[in-house]
């Protein structure tokens, strides 16, 4: 097998492994806009392929690189939109994130409450809580993605948790 074939195969394996995680990340960060999250996931992988294979750049840790690409694209998207719409705004405008493959998101009383609470958190807290608990990433992995030290990430997780706790107990 040639080097090119090996790189292609490795990249497709990475897609199988991380596509859901990247999609989930985009989904939460885009306040549950599933269609946009799908488009963005596809673009993340396309851009990563272009970067590594055709531009010839080296990527040491593909998972972190995919997350970082997704993060940058989300930031660009939010900036271009000027204002970030909340999940409630989306629902009010007719968007209902349910019934994709029979799965209902935030569709119970508790989930509804959680959605409200999450929307009250700052962007930074929401991002770190989602990455840690919804996506199940380890602090080390989050640190790699956000290009921070593991200690800083751990501190941020704890602080975000405390603020989440306050909101839950109100």
């Amino acid at each position: 097998m040639s080097l090119a074939s090996r790189i292609e195969k490795k990249f497709l394996v990475s897609y199988d492994k991380y596509a859901d995680s990247i999609f989930r990340h985009c989904f939460y960060r885009l306040n549950g806009d599933r269609e946009l999250a799908k488009e963005m996931t596809q673009e993340v992988f396309t851009k990563t392929w272009h970067y590594t294979a055709t531009e010839g750049k080296n990527v040491h840790y593909i998972k972190a690189f995919l997350y970082r690409t997704a993060n940058n694209m989300i930031i660009d998207h939010v900036r271009s939109k000027k204002e970030q719409q909340s999940l409630e705004d989306l629902q009010e405008s007719g968007f209902e994130p349910v019934d994709y493959g029979g799965i209902r998101i935030f569709d119970t009383v508790d989930a509804g409450l959680l959605k409200d609470i999450m929307n009250k958190l700052s962007d930074q807290d929401r991002e770190i809580i989602i990455m840690r608990y919804a996506e199940g990433l380890k602090p080390r992995e989050i640190a790699n993605i956000l290009e921070l030290s593991t200690n800083v990430v751990s501190v941020r997780i704890n602080r975000a948790k405390k603020r989440l706790k306050k909101l839950v107990n109100v």
Partner: protein, 399 residues
Amino acid sequence: MKKAIKQLRQNGKEVKLTKLEHDNFKILLKQVIKEQPVRKMGIGRHIIQSVATTFYSLFLTKNYMFAKIIIMITLFAGGGTAVAAEKALPGDVLYPVKLRVNEQVRSAISINSESKVQWDIRRAERRLEELVQLKIKGILNSDVQATVEEKFEINAKRAEERISNIEKKDPEKANRLRAEFEARLKAQENFFDSTDYLIEVKSILPVLRSRINVLEKIRVDHKDDVDENFIEDFKNPDDSSNNTDNSNISIRLTARYDELSSEMRSVQMKVEEKSDGSVKVRLMAHLETAIGELSEAKASIRSGAYARAEVSLNNAHRLIEQVKAALRIMVNVNSSIEGTFDADFLKTDASLNLDSEKSDDETNAEITNENNLRKEDNVSKRDTKKLNVDVVEDTIISF
């Protein structure tokens, strides 16, 4: 709270692409891969890139010291050319390597501005040493001499510029560096001026003196400012509003006094070890003057005349540096002569030079001494050579 996090985890597991979506994306991705295949640049691309990234990251991240070590290893372990170039003289094939590679690299790896100045001063001295070595080897001509003089001036001016830049942030450090630079140039001036053997290279003297004059003028201006403020220093030594500042200045000056006193002791030991006869007397006289300046500095610190103390410390520093530079010149000339010179030729030439520089008593004593040595049958060539080196030493150390 636990429930909220559990809920979040549960939701997280449920948010994913459907099987159909996943497969469709994969088909699209395969299409992209087909349209944009891997660049055919060979197997080494990733390896080369990895090495390059690691090397650059040494500079871009905190591993600065490690980068420095790597460069040093490359230069000194792998760089045979660089080592050979260190001994090159103007006109040699490797001389450009010495100037543009060795010296530039050394300048680049000097981290702070002070060490960069020190290295520029040293570079200026190296040009002067090259002139002497060219003369000793008998390969000096006017073109080479003009080139070396020009390069000396460039190095000296660069050192001055760097000191001026430092002055904006730290005037005290700038004064200290100027004092050192002036002392080292002064030692070279004395050497070229008093050694008739170097008569052909005396055209360097006006260049040297012009640089010394610039430094002297700054020092004198600074001293005048200090003299003007001297009475004010005594008037307000205990001004309560400046107590904290004064205390900090006092601590700083005392630390510098201690540092110079310790350096003085170490230079005294070197003079004891490396010189003798009249050379030693002259050098020791210089150090005595420096000790006087240090005592004055200590008294000024105690009385709160800090500006005056700083001038005295700079004077002491200059004198110590001058002695150090004289010792260095002596060692350099000695090693060049011992390595390359015909002893008889040197003896005649250097002895003649000595006559013009010394008192009659000293000259007579040395001539008698030399004659006595000549008369001894068992005087070896090596002994004669040693004697002549001593003569050269005497000639050069006259301040």
